[in-house]
Amino acid sequence: MSENVYIIGAGIHPFGRTEERSGREQGVYAVREALKDAGLEWADMECAYGGSAAAGSADIMVNELGLTSLPFTNVANGCATGGSALAAAQQAIASGMYDLALAVGFDKHPRGAFNAKPADYGLPDWYGQTGMMLTTQFFALKIQRYMQLHGISRTTLGRVAEKAFRNGAKTPHAWRRSEIDLETIMNAPMINDPLTKFMFCSPSEGGVALILASEKKAKELGALQNRGGVKIAKIAVKTRPPDSFEVFQPGVSVKEGGKPTVLASKAAFEGAGIGPEDVEVAQLQDTESGAEIMHMAENGFCKDGEQEEWLANGWSALGGKLPINTDGGCLACGEPIGASGLRQVYENVEQLRGRAGDRQVAGRDGKGPKLGYSHVYGAPGLSAVAILER
């Protein structure tokens, strides 16, 4: 059996740096906000799925929220932790086992780039010792080739970052809340060519919680009135297929393989019974400017190379034909790994409910978007897509 599943509560702890709160406390804050939003108590929750990469086990949250004995599963799926927690919570309800579920993610990272250990990824030590095991390099190598093959200019990379900071300035939960002009972005120190400092997101802190309900329960709670709830039309999570090009690969196949994002996107669109042209607001993984550009095509919103025209014409800006990363994305919000994928869904929930304030997307009927799309990509090569519908 498969029940319709709704998101009836959404809470966020502002992203950025909050010295006085641990990562888990930021997660607890987000859960309390989500409960308040849904008009529910912690004791009402029937199951929970959550995770963080660097701020401890999510299930320890029960010490602060209450020892209600609910089943609480820790999720660890790299940058796609949030998307995976949401998928698990959705399945728990769709299966008919539960009527209310929590998906939560939080994190708190040390400053600077992530430093991974080769052995944790089944790689030899020399790969890290010689300085070739950095996530930032993978993103630069992927966009460099893409730019050469599809005629993407460096200015287009800059425009993605400029848009992110412009949107972030309008978003209460964003970390970077000041606009940065294109010239400053283009002239900033080079991190990994062609990507400058302002084209990369930074590890940060934050927490997001979403409360999911079965259709029956949502109606019983009156949660679907006044746009209080949005339906999860489809969630799809896919890991990498053979011969793909992912983070941390000393050797890549000469055969051109598939991409986890393309697979997850296709599965999500098919499951939801819609196409890219129906989406009115999208949040795409933008670890750096190039990722947003490539993910626009990998998720089916444009053809390879068309991004040049999209960015020049502002089609993905607020007010454009498909606003992308309306809250500033990872570039303006930073990336607390466990929370990041859920922030994207949170943003779509707010947009679909018409509660997005200065960054509200009008949608085709002027009453806010009807369909929202979120995509998260994580190491070592998996993608999660969630399509929401009001």
Partner: protein, 141 residues
């Protein structure tokens, strides 16, 4: 010549080759797998020539386990030397990630011919790299 950063990474010929592995399916992988994963995988000497598939620069000092210049306890960003790296496609074999030497960013072009070489990595160790073939010819001239 320093010590090899990994004894199995390249061959000890006068003209050394990077060592990959050939799977029973015929597919060539890099690096040669170790431990149980090496079962039924034949060590395979990779081509010394290939084409540039992508590239980037490393502009900041990587955290550990990086052991190059700048990484020591009394060192830091001023001791770090930015470097180039990329992927080189060895036709019909595998695309390998490598340091790129004897070139600046502006010299690099998609598909340009690259050749294998060994370079010092720090005071103790050597590692492998690829360099544009055009530069090799210039030097010989």
């Amino acid at each position: 010549m320093g010590e090899k950063i990994d004894p199995n990474l390249w061959s000890d010929d006068p003209e050394p080759h990077l060592m990959g592995g050939k799977l029973p399916s015929g597919e060539v992988v890099f690096p040669m797998p170790a431990g149980d994963a090496a079962k039924n995988v034949e060590p395979y000497r990779l081509s010394r020539r290939g084409k540039l598939w992508s590239w980037t620069s490393q502009g900041f000092l990587p955290k550990e386990p990086y052991e190059g210049p700048g990484s020591g306890p009394d060192e830091g960003p001023p001791d770090f030397k930015p470097f180039l790296l990329g992927y080189v496609e060895l036709p019909g074999e595998v695309i390998v990630e490598s340091r790129i030497v004897d070139a600046g960013l502006d010299d690099l072009e998609l598909g340009m011919e690259m050749e294998f070489t060994i370079v010092p990595f720090n005071d103790t160790y050597d590692t492998y790299a690829f360099r544009p073939v055009a530069n090799v010819q210039e030097k010989a001239a």
